[in-house]
């Protein structure tokens, strides 16, 4: 049976389309419209392909499906390996879903260099899907790093006033975190070669390594730092408000909708399963940071005068929930975390689109500039209302399911964390509804708002799908939760064998000395003790 290599198709399609777009002559903007339609067409085809992948996905299996492997750099055991499981399935679909919305949402607001804008958006989509699908750590890191470039250009060229500062801060922060992960990845591959005689960057091969606990601590910290910056976890979040506020609407949608998920995805896929003992040891610390982020993000969001900044800080709070769910490491917590990643993508993506629409009309995003929009743009306000409720987590909409599962999982693990986190739910209602009220209710105080146009057909096409998905995910969660379950179970059961006590026992006794000797062990290179393989 000839099987279509669908995952490679998913990775390649946007990039090929993007490169083709570069060859469209567009000297005097005469083909702007054509390019926009072409880019939208490519991204819709990509979305269709992600749905096709979903249709072919077998929800009963826990391992990776539709796997494609090919030798890439054989002397280092590097493979081109892609595969999908229940966790990445929906993240890929989400990426495919949000990209066309983001393109459609910037139909009017991007005037200059439309061709290059479309190029970077599609190239970014390829890289993001590559990150989710990679089963080889080298490939993963390659996509992870490559993804920064299009985002850098999107923020830096099409952003708002302080765009250059935000773009540079974004790329430097992210890189500074991820290069240490590169060192850890290289060390893992080397460890594999010591243990088995050949290098390997394959995720599944590295899972079978037995990594000494002191090494786990270092590796976990390197991975966790990279992902914590990406999430962003408090106190590594300071790049996020800048990047979000200065990015163009499409950039913000993708940034919030997909890029932030890569941090939590990385924790869940790599940092926890690869280094279970260290992960279990550091879980309380991560959870503490997550809970601080939940409350801190919510409180800071409350006092923001700028809508975009408010949504940006709300992301810090929402992503804190996701990290909390992951650290709980039980089936509800992790399922809730994955579900909440999707929710946040849909509802925050939609919020950024809504703010973008207001900003397109008024060229300001200050809450105080608005008021009484209900009288002027009733349809817009209705859509805004549904999205707000979904972000707050009202039962019947998507946000509720994720937050509920996370809190449920967290309660089973640690009541204190869960209790504090629960206040975040209340706070999110406060800042979102307060913002909503100030923008949309009351009399129209600012005369500039009197003539605002309501949603256009195009804008309905942008917001409609997001709202529909929010409702479907709210009323029929099992449709999404069931395919996730086997893959989540696989990670949770692996983590159940973790023995944080061993890390704990070693660390206080000898303190830093142990870590130093650990480092010294590894410095001695080939003569050092070889890590035992799992078979022994």
């Amino acid at each position: 049976m000839a099987v279509v290599p669908i995952l490679s198709l998913l990775v390649a399609l946007p990039l090929v389309g993007a490169v083709l777009l570069l060859f469209v002559g567009n000297r005097d903007h005469e083909r702007d419209r054509f390019i926009q339609w072409a880019a939208l067409g490519i991204s819709l085809a990509e979305f269709a392909a992600t749905l096709w992948m979903w249709a072919r996905f077998d929800p009963a299996r826990a391992d990776f499906q539709m796997v494609e492997r090919a030798d890439w750099i054989p002397s280092f055991g590097i493979q081109y390996a892609v595969g999908v499981d229940g966790i990445t399935l929906f993240l890929v679909v989400l990426t495919g879903f949000l990209t066309p919305l983001a393109l459609l949402g910037s139909w009017q607001s991007v005037h200059k260099k439309v061709r290059e804008f479309s190029f970077f958006m599609l190239a970014l989509e390829s890289a993001m899907i590559g990150v989710f699908l990679s089963l080889d750590m080298f490939l993963f890191y390659l996509f992870w790093d490559a993804m920064l470039i299009p985002m850098y250009f999107l923020i830096g060229i099409w952003g708002y006033d302080r765009r250059v500062y935000a773009a540079v801060k974004f790329i430097l922060y992210t890189m500074a975190g991820s290069v240490l992960m590169l060192v850890a990845i290289l060390s893992l591959a080397y460890m594999h070669s010591v243990a088995t005689g050949s290098y390997s960057f394959s995720y599944e091969a590295l899972l079978t390594l037995t990594i000494p606990r002191h090494a786990q601590v270092w590796f976990f910290l390197a991975f966790a730092l990279a992902f914590a910056i990406k999430v962003p976890l408090f106190p590594f979040h300071t790049w996020l408000p800048d990047a979000h506020v200065e990015a163009p609407t499409a950039g913000s949608v993708i940034l919030a909708g997909v890029l932030l998920k890569m941090g939590t995805y990385g924790l869940l896929r790599f940092a926890f399963p690869l280094f279970p003992d260290a992960a279990a040891y550091f879980s309380p610390l991560l959870a503490t940071l997550a809970v601080i982020g939940i409350v801190y993000g919510a409180l800071v969001a409350m006092v923001q005068p700028d809508m975009k900044k408010l949504v940006a800080y709300s992301s810090v709070s929402h992503l804190g929930f996701v990290v909390l769910g992951i650290t709980a490491m039980n089936i509800q917590g992790v399922q809730g975390a994955v579900y909440q990643m999707l929710n946040h993508g849909v509802s925050t993506g939609a919020l950024f689109l809504i703010v973008g629409m207001l900003s397109d009309r008024r060229h300001t995003r200050l809450i105080s500039e608005f008021g009484g929009l209900k009288h002027v743009m009733p349809k817009f306000v209705a859509a805004f209302f549904v999205v707000t409720l979904s972000s707050i987590g009202l039962p019947g909409l998507n946000g509720f399911v994720g937050e509920f599962l996370i809190l449920f999982g967290a309660f089973r693990w640690n009541v204190t964390f869960a209790t504090i986190a629960a206040t975040g739910v209340i706070l999110s209602a406060v800042y979102m509804l307060w913002m909503f009220q100030r923008v949309n209710y009351g009399p129209v105080t600012n005369p500039k708002n009197e003539g605002l146009k309501d949603l256009s057909t195009r804008e309905w096409w942008v917001l409609g799908p997001a709202i529909a998905v929010a409702i479907v995910m709210g009323v029929a969660p099992s449709y999404f939760l069931n395919p996730m379950k086997p893959a989540v179970n696989r990670i949770v059961s692996r983590m159940a064998e973790a023995e944080p006590s061993k890390v704990v026992r070693v660390a206080p006794e000898a303190g830093a000395d142990v870590l130093l000797t650990a480092a010294a062990d590894r410095h001695s290179g080939t003569t050092g003790p070889a890590p035992r393989s799992a078979g022994e």
Binding site: D71, W72, I73, P74, S75, F76, F138, Y141, L142, F143, D145, A146, L148, I149, Y152, F153, G156, I157, R163, V164, A167, V168, I171, L172, M175, A176, V179, L180, L182, V183, L186, S187, A189, Y190, S193, A519, R522, H523, S524, G525, T526, G528
Partner: protein, 478 residues
């Protein structure tokens, strides 16, 4: 005799081409246009084919030259640098009013010296080769005789270079005094025999040799000449010397230290470790403060020398192969970046400072795009070859247990990304002055740029073949 010559045929080809350029210049009428560069291309093409024919044969010549795969790989890189430089050169030569015949002749003589250095197995021949190319490069640095900075750079380079050559020669003298020979095989045998262990004179010899090499690869603290020389030289010459000199010097550095002096690793590795750390940190940190693009790239090339030192210190099979891979990628990238710098400057609007690049994307999108690819490759971003090269070097460091070098290396590469991106910011995210005439690069230059970019993407996506080739060529000698 015929047999003995085989190993140096590539060097002879290039030398003859250099002589032909000189003759052509002598017969050129004033004002007559003559494709002198073409003679160089012919000679380099001959050298290239000779290298391919010699591949895998391990040909010895005169007892002091061994054309093994390691040396031939470096020679191939040097030939590539030569071809690309000549393709880039025509416009910059006309603009800066450089004497074409002398320029090409010096370029080819320098290349001949470098190619000899890559295959020399006797310390004295290495020194000879070093002097041959150094003298040519000193002159090339000062080719813009009417420009003050050019003369200053050349003078500094010459004085300090003379000094370091003396150190190097002194090191050779000490080695000779201890071993009774300057041939690397003899040195290796004497060192391996162990009778010299702990002899302070050996340490003196080691130190002097390190100073000589460290100067040529501009390792901190022997880098002082680099920014001035790089800034003063005509831009295209800067591109040439920042890549070719490094390639030749690292080839000999690796040959001397990783084969003959390998048993003394415990003595020299800590010294190089300090040099590597200082080089990486200073190169990237000071680069941040530069506003002249040439100085910025000068510091960047210092930092890249640091990464090569990391591979040298690692010194295992991965390390040796990664030196070759890195040299090739760095050569294509850095030469390309300097070439773009040379091409975007026109007599009316010289572009040397950061602000001159404002809005370059608007006026000449192709050059801006190409420069971006080079800068991203220098910064080590996938999917360009720069990423694979860095990954390879740091893999080598980790497999040798040099974690600290790997960590310093990745962190400093983030710092250097900052200044590479500053250029990108200027090109794409600032508005340029209205009405500046866009530069019109020649067709050969554009072709060379296209080739360079294609190589970078090819090696960034499918590096396996070259990695295997590099690994195979180091396996043959060390």
């Amino acid at each position: 005799m015929g047999q003995a010559l085989n190993g140096v045929i590539p060097v002879i080809c290039v030398t003859l081409a250099g002589l032909a350029c000189m003759l052509a210049e002598a017969f050129r009428q004033r004002g007559e246009r003559m494709p002198i560069g073409g003679l160089g291309l012919i000679g380099l093409a001959g050298a290239g084919s000779a290298i391919v024919l010699l591949w895998g044969r391990h040909t010895e010549s005169f007892g002091v030259v061994v054309a093994d795969d390691f040396g031939l790989f470096v020679q191939l890189v040097l030939v590539g640098i030569g071809i690309l430089t000549i393709l880039f050169s025509s416009a910059p030569i006309e603009r800066d009013k450089l004497p074409a015949g002398e320029y090409y002749a010096l370029l080819l003589f320098a290349l001949a010296g470098m190619m000899l250095m890559a295959v020399a197995t006797d310390l004295l021949v290495i020194f000879l080769a070093l002097e041959v190319f150094s003298l040519a490069v000193y002159v090339m640095t000062g080719l813009r005789r009417h420009v003050f900075a050019s003369t200053e750079g050349a003078f500094k380079y010459f004085l300090l270079g003379g000094f370091s050559s003396a150190f190097f020669l002194y090191g050779i003298a000490f080695t000779f005094g201890l071993v009774g020979s300057t041939h690397l095989d003899r040195v290796a045998a004497a060192v391996a025999a162990g009778s010299l262990t702990g002899n302070p004179l050996l340490l003196v010899a080691l130190g002097l040799l390190i100073v000589g090499f460290a100067f040529k690869v501009s390792a901190v603290p022997f880098h002082m000449w680099t920014p001035d020389a790089y800034e003063g030289a005509p831009t295209i010459v800067t591109g040439f010397m920042s890549t070719a000199v490094k390639a030749a010097a690292f080839a000999a550095f690796a040959r001397v230290f990783l084969s003959a002096l390998e048993p003394l690793r415990g003595d020299w590795a800590p010294v190089l470790w300090v040099l590597a750390i200082c080089t990486m940190i200073l190169g990237s940190v000071v680069g941040v403060a530069q506003t002249s693009l040439k100085r910025m790239l000068a510091y960047s090339s210092i930092a890249h020398g640091g990464y090569l030192l990391v591979a040298l210190i690692a010194g295992n099979d991965v390390g040796k192969a990664s030196i070759l891979f890195y040299l090739l990628v760095y050569a294509v990238t850095n030469l390309g970046a300097f070439a773009v710098l040379a091409l975007v400057s026109t007599p009316e609007t010289p572009r040397e400072h950061l602000d001159d690049f404002k809005g370059l994307w608007q006026s000449s999108p192709v050059l801006a795009g190409v420069l971006t690819v080079f800068l991203l490759s220098l910064g080590g971003f996938p999917p360009t070859a720069g990423f694979v090269a860095k990954w390879y070097v740091f893999s080598a460091a980790i497999s040798a247990g040099q974690y600290s070098l790997a960590i310093v290396g990745v962190l400093t590469s983030v710092i250097s990304v900052f200044f590479y991106l500053r250029i990108v910011v200027k090109m794409y995210m600032s508005e340029g002055p209205e009405g500046a005439a866009p530069p019109q690069p020649s067709r050969t230059a554009l072709a060379a740029l296209a080739i360079s970019v294609a190589i970078l993407f090819y090696l960034g996506v499918l590096p396996a073949r070259l990695i295997d080739l590099a690994a195979g060529s180091v396996a043959s000698i060390f």
